[in-house]
Every structure is written in structure tokens, then in C-alpha cells.
Amino acid sequence: METQINPSKRWGGLGAAFVTFLVVFVLLMVIALVNAPTMGGSKVMSSVSSYLSEVRKTAIPFLVAVGIVALIVGGVAAVTVYKVWPDRRQRNNLLSAYGFIAPYLLITLIFTIGVILFAFYISFTNYDIFTTPQWVGLHNYTKAFAGFTDPSQKDFVQSLYNVFWYSLIVVPIQTALAIGLAMMLNASMRFKQFFRMIFYAPSVTSSVVITLIFMWFYLKTGYINFFFAKILGVVGIQWQNVNWLGDPRGLFQLIVTAFGGSISSDQWYLKGPSIAWMAIMFQNIFTTAPTFMLMFLAALQDISPTLNEAAKIDGANKWQIFWNLTLPLLRPIILLVVVLGTIGTLQVFDQVYLATQGGPLGTSQTPVYLIFTDALGKLGQIQMGFAAALAFILAVIIFVFTFIQRRFLERGTELY
């Protein structure tokens, strides 16, 4: 092949590769410049020249680091272009493909990738927006995990503990519930459309509105307590009203207390999810399950009825069909729902922000809420660097979980 390319084409390829390299490199450097980690405030932001002089003062290491990355990326791009250049069809494909995604790519690079680079750099600094970021190395990362040894800094560790319980309880229940609802609506029944609408209603309602409604339900004098009192009153049991969203007693703590034991405050990690936290879990399941129901419903309607008929002829009963046929066929969707559910639960924020603000006693504290409070200095100084570090730790955790789930659930799905 190489030998058949005429020299002018090779030179053209080299030229194109060089131009590509330049474009990618300059683009990345401009993006880095726009997102350079300088201090904010009117004095810096008032004009382009004041911003640039601040960049010169503080952001040179950042620009150098991005520059190295830009060299590598530019090199890769140049090699790609050089390889496809001699073949006219491949070349046109490549150029038109990148041409079409260029507008979106540019916006993503500036407003997402650039900001991620900025945040990553900031996570190694002490940064309060209005003064020059100071390099502190890994201090923010070690501080995040200081809670393991120092109970007075347990906020982040406790928030991780909380969301792990949240994922562990919410994801299986909402997935199972979604499959159940979807199976129900997929069966031939009367008023199917009506039930579809009713079941899906919680998901189309804003989660803010639902949270507000649930806050009323959960009041000590609210409907849920009223309901329990009435139901249990029939059996003759006196129901003690619970302040659902304000009760920090943990699940295991309740069990241990019922058997006459107790768990001290120092061993908060043995207490399990608190009543307040479980109340929020219930609300979340109620809101999210219907969304996933819709996905399962779509997948169920994709399953060919001939398979069901064949199984019936072979003598399978309904349960056998469900366990051995339907569920395996749903496996790719189950993976999707579990992964989406896990990511969503690890990032839970709005319910906490509206209903509990991380209380009672930090039992509904979540990483994202903690990032929010630290980044805006709700409890003291603005700690953008620390908040950025927490965000990256959370991102790594989510990545690891998703990876593990793919490894275990995706195995075998390609068969179908």
C-alpha cells in the first residue's frame, strides 16, 4: 500500500497532520486559558488584561500540565489524520464526522471538560474563590478520609456510609418494583392505559413537589402516623407517633434496643440507616420506580410472543416462563436500570436539600449535599478545593461501582 501512494499525497497527509496538531493543541490551550484556576472577584474579572496577568501569576503550572496533555492529544489526532489522508473516502468520513459534532464538541470542551480540568487542579489547592489558590498537595483528599481516625471530622465518611445504605436498599427494591409494575401493565388487563398513567404520574411530577408533599405526610401529626394509628388501632396496638424526618435512630439501633441493648454515639457506624433516611429512601423509590417501569415495559414489548408460546407448549408454567425466559431476556435492561439507579442514589441531593438539610445528626448527610455546603461556605469558610476533592472521590466511587456492575451483570447478555 505505502509504495503505491504518490509523494504529493504523502506531503498532503503530513501537512494535514500538522494542521490538525496545531488546531487541537491551540484549541485545548485556549480552553485551559478560559478555565484557568485564578482567583475570582471584580479586580481580576473586570477586563481581559487583568485576567491574563492573574493567569500569568498563578496558573502557569496548570497551563503547563494541560499543555502536556494537549501535546499528546494533538499527536494522536495528527497520527489519525495522517493515516486516513491517502484514502479519499475515509478522509471524507473523518472530516464530515468531526465537522458535524464540532459545535457540540466545542461547547462540551469549554463548559464541561475545561471545568473538570479546573476542578481537578483546584482539588489540590486551598481555594476560597477570592484569593489565589494555594497548592496543598493531597491534603484535601486525606482530610476527606480523616473521619476514619478523627470522629470530629466524620462528615464525609458518614455521608458515604449513608449513601451506601441508600444504594443498597433503594436500587434492589426499585428495580424489583419496576419489573413487577411492568409485568402487570404488560399483561392483558382492563383499563391498562389508565393504570399506566397513574403509575407513571409520580415520575413526571417534579421531585421538589413530591418532596414537599411527603414532608407533610411525614409530620409527627401527619397522615402516615394517622394511618398507622388507625390500622394498628383495629388490632388494639397503641401507635407511638414518629417524627419521621427528624428521627436519627438507626435501623440496627432500634433492633438492638428492642432486645435491651444500646449502641453509643461513638459507634454511629453500627446504627444503620436512620428512620429519617429510610423515610427519604421510601419517597425516592416511590418517585423513581415508575421511570424504570417504563424501560422494562418497552423491553417486555420487545420480547416475541412466539417464545412464550413455545415455552407453554413445552409445558412451562407462568413462574417458569418468568424466571427462565422473561427475566434473562430483560438482563440488558436490568443492567441499565441498576447502573442508572446506583449512579442516581449515590448522587442524591434534592430530597436532602429540601427535607432534612443533612440532619438529624448527619444521618441524611450525602456527599453531594456536603459538596454544596462546603463549596458555598454554608458552614464557615468557602472551601472550593475541598469540595472539588470530594467531587472527584465520589466520581471515582461511582466509576468503580458501575465497572463492577458491568462485569457481573453484562456477562452473558450478548447472547441474546
Binding site: S42, M45, I129, S152, S264, S265, P360, G380
Partner: protein, 484 residues
């Protein structure tokens, strides 16, 4: 942050159609798509390009500053000046400073319609005494602090704005607030003119970064009905916390009302602590003083009251806060502030309630003061005019007018007599006590407050003893104050 902020705003202006460009766009779309469908895809591409160009120009215009917003917000001011003719003639005092000619400044604060009206009137009075200055009042009723931080970071913050504990710790030490001392000297205003406790929140390293605009404090609010029922005499201004406890026990024993309402909230606990000579931190906000007998004795006091059921939390009796518990007539007494007057008048107008000043403790009588200030943006174009506005609004003449509305207390000690409502008179007495402290614990205010509240919560829950809970709180606050 700022860029996104500016973006959204200009986009909102853009789509709302108030912007003339929005109108143009509508016309264009009508012309292009509403007409015959013969226009081929070239025109669609062209229109997309045009939309894009307009978006960009809208963005660039918003970042250059005021023009777009000014056009919307300046207009109401003159009209409201003429409509609020009742307050306009009373504009008293002279312009505090010799201001720049033709200064244009912006002013932001939170607040509902009542507060906005009061500040519009104040601005009208200011414009009368300092002619030639135009003031854009931009109220931000929700998420004020978040918005201020974002605007400040992007260099688009208003010239004068409300400053609370959170903004004070974010802005003062980082040089975003203008030190007002020189301007105060020129205007003949001194920090001593204000109630001394208020100033402690807004001074840092001997410089003044904000002038207190109003304040509130706690008083003992009670239902006379509950006292009649229990057959005991009503509270008086010389009551002690022990008197309160005895009465609470008597009221709770009758069964119809609960005794005393208090949430697990540091703000309601503070008057107990101060009255025993205690405090949450040292006066320089560098050392935690929670694990001390002064604090723990008082924590034990409220914990014992809770145990003997003379003290209830609002959630225990089905109220979201203690003021509502008074309104619903569930409890005999609580400690609340001047906000009760409006709340009761609007929500529970038929409930009879009264107030006396905060009870006395073993060592002294002291109250907890909540206040906010007006601060000036350090990078304002018109520092003199901005400082003049802050000084005028918080000055004696204007504060006297605000007090008359019954909305807030004057920040000047000699104007306490202007307060007319008897409930407000009783409550506000606590603010002028020499040992009263303001709700501010240095840059880590939020952390200190949440640690104390959590300690109380653990005690009330029976999770920890007072000793254990406040030892833990002491550790938490020490860690926070060490700057780690």
C-alpha cells in the same frame, strides 16, 4: 460560575421577550416559518445562524453590565417615589458625604414585599437628600447568599448589599468588602453610635465592613390563658429561668397546655448559656468554650426540664416551630422574637399572647441578637456614593422612619423608645442588655452553631449525657477553628 450566571440571565431576558431582540427574533420566526413554506433549508440555516449570533450578542451585552437590567429596574423607583408620598416629605437629614456627581449604583437585598417597600422608601429619601445619584434596587428574595458569592466571583456584584454572617466570612477577610471607616469619619458617624453588640459581627482587624441595618432578639412569649388555667401569676420583667421552670411545670401538670417550647437549636439555647456567664467560643473566636461548667450546667437545666416534660420540642406537639405552637395554643411559653408580631397578626389574629423580656440566669440577664448589615463592594465604581447610601440607610434619621413602620428595630440605642408595640418593647429590651451577644462566632459561625445544635439533639434523644455531648461538640468546634 459568573459566566453561566450572566448567560442564564441574558437568556431569560432574551426569551422573555422584554428585550427588544426577543421581539425581533419573534418577528423573524413569524416571517420565516409562519409565512409560506417555500423558504428552503438555506433560510433555516440562516435563521439558526441569526439566532446564534443574537444569543452571543445578548451574552456579551449582559456581561458589560447594567444597561439591560437598569432599564427594567430604575423605572419603578421614580413612580414609587410619587406613590409613597406619605413618607417622601419626611425625608430628613443631609447627604452624609460629598458624593460623585451622576453616580449610578446598584443595591441588593433579600426580603418580602414589606421589606422591599421599606427599602424603596429609604432609597427615595436618600435620593432626595443626595440628588444626582441614581440607585437601582434589585431585590433577591431567595438564595441571596449563593447569588452574591457567584456575582462577586464574576465581578458583577451590586455596589451595596446586605451582609450576614456567611457573607461576612466569605467577603471581609478576602478583601471583597470596602472598609467604611474613612467614609464614616467624613460623614461624622462613629461605630459607637450603634448598639455595641451589633458592631462586633461586622468588624475585622479593627476595620468596619458593614453597618447594621436592623436587628432582632428573643423575649419570653406566653399565653395568659395558660397561666390562668394553671392558677399562677403571669411572667414579669424580673423573672429568672427558675421561675420559668416552676411555671412550666405547673402549666404542664394541668395537662391542657405544654409548659415551655424549645427546639434543639443553639439560637434558643444561647440565652441560657449567656445568663450563666458562658459562651460558645472565646471572644476572639479562636477557642471553643463548650466543654465548660457554665455551658454544661445550662444544658443539664434544659435536659432536666425535657425529662420532667415541662419542656417540649415543637415536633413533639405537632408544630413546625415554637411560634406556631403558641399560635395553635399548644404551649404556655416559648422564646421567640419580634417576627412573632407579624406572624400572629397574619396567621392567628384571635390568639391572645403577651411578652416579657428574656429571663435572668444565675449570673446575669443576657440575650442573643440576630443582625444583618449593609456592606459596600470593594470594587465599586462609586465608593463615596455607595458608602453614602449605606451610611444614610443605617443612619439615625432613616432608622427612625423604619422603626415607625413597625418592621424592624433601630440599630441606634437611643431610638429604642420609638418602638411602639408593647410586645416589641418587651422583646427588644433584651437586645440592649450589656451582656447580650450577637449571633456570630467568627468565620466558622455555621460550624459552631451546628455543633451546639447537634449536641443538644443528642442529649434530648438520650443518646449521650450532657458531658459526652458537649465534649464531642468541643472537639468538633476545635477542629473547625484550627482551620483544618
Amino acid at each position: 460560575l459568573s459566566f453561566a450566571e450572566g448567560n442564564t440571565i441574558s437568556f431569560l431576558i432574551f426569551i422573555s421577550g422584554t428585550h427588544n431582540k426577543g421581539y425581533l427574533l419573534n418577528q423573524f420566526i413569524m416571517f420565516n416559518f409562519g409565512g409560506d413554506e417555500m423558504k428552503n433549508k438555506n433560510s433555516i440555516i440562516f435563521s439558526m445562524l441569526l439566532i446564534f449570533a443574537m444569543l452571543i450578542s445578548a451574552c456579551s451585552q449582559a456581561t458589560t453590565g447594567a444597561p439591560t437590567t437598569a432599564a427594567q429596574t430604575t423605572q419603578p423607583s421614580p413612580t414609587s417615589a410619587s406613590s409613597s408620598a406619605t413618607s417622601a416629605p419626611s425625608a430628613a437629614g443631609a447627604c452624609p458625604l460629598k458624593v460623585e456627581g451622576e453616580a449610578k449604583i446598584t443595591f441588593s437585598g433579600w426580603g418580602d414585599a414589606t421589606e422591599q417597600k421599606i427599602y424603596r422608601d429609604s432609597i427615595d429619601r436618600f435620593i432626595q437628600v443626595c440628588p444626582g445619584i441614581s440607585v437601582d434596587y434589585i431585590p433577591i428574595p431567595d438564595k441571596f447568599q449563593d447569588k452574591m458569592i457567584a456575582q462577586m466571583a464574576g465581578g458583577t456584584a451590586p455596589d451595596v448589599f446586605y451582609v450576614d454572617a456567611q457573607l461576612m466570612s466569605a467577603f471581609a477577610s478576602t478583601g471583597q468588602l470596602l472598609a467604611l471607616d474613612d467614609y464614616m469619619k467624613q460623614a461624622g458617624v462613629s461605630a459607637n453610635d450603634f448598639i455595641p453588640a451589633l458592631m462586633t459581627e461586622f468588624q475585622l482587624n479593627g476595620k468596619t465592613y458593614g453597618l447594621p441595618k436592623d436587628w432582632g432578639t428573643l423575649g419570653l412569649i406566653y399565653l395568659p390563658e395558660a397561666f390562668q388555667q394553671a392558677g399562677i401569676s403571669e411572667p414579669t420583667a424580673d423573672w429568672t429561668w427558675d421561675d420559668m421552670r416552676t411555671a412550666a411545670k405547673a402549666i404542664a401538670a394541668k395537662g391542657k397546655y405544654s409548659g415551655f417550647c424549645m427546639g434543639t437549636d443553639e439560637a434558643r439555647f444561647a440565652p441560657f448559656v449567656f445568663s450563666n456567664g458562658g459562651s460558645y467560643t472565646s471572644t476572639d473566636y479562636k477557642t471553643a468554650t463548650l466543654d465548660t461548667p457554665e455551658v454544661k450546667t445550662e444544658a443539664q437545666f434544659v435536659a432536666d426540664m425535657f425529662k420532667e416534660k415541662s419542656l417540649v420540642r415543637p415536633a413533639d406537639i405537632g408544630a413546625s416551630w415554637c411560634g406556631e405552637a403558641i399560635g395553635k395554643q399548644l404551649v404556655g411559653m416559648t422564646t421567640e422574637g419580634g417576627w412573632m408580631v407579624n406572624f400572629m397578626a397574619q396567621t392567628y389574629p384571635n390568639v391572645q399572647y403577651k411578652a416579657v423580656q428574656i429571663p435572668k440566669g444565675p449570673k446575669t440577664r443576657a440575650d442573643y441578637i440576630f443582625t444583618n448589615a449593609l456592606g459596600v463592594n470593594a470594587s465599586t465604581k462609586y465608593p463615596i456614593a455607595s458608602a453614602a447610601l449605606a451610611i444614610y440607610i443605617t443612619g439615625e434619621a432613616n432608622q427612625a422612619d423604619i422603626v415607625k413602620t413597625g418592621f424592624a428595630y433601630s440599630t441606634h440605642p437611643d431610638q429604642a423608645k420609638l418602638i411602639s408595640n408593647p410586645i416589641d418593647q418587651a422583646i427588644s429590651a433584651g437586645g440592649l442588655l450589656p451582656d447580650s451577644k450577637v449571633q456570630y462566632w467568627g468565620v466558622n459561625t455555621g460550624k459552631v452553631e451546628s455543633s451546639v445544635s447537634k449536641a443538644l439533639e443528642r442529649v434530648f434523644l438520650g443518646d449521650q449525657t450532657v458531658d459526652e455531648a458537649f465534649k464531642q461538640a468541643q472537639q468538633e468546634v476545635t477542629t473547625a477553628l484550627s482551620g483544618q
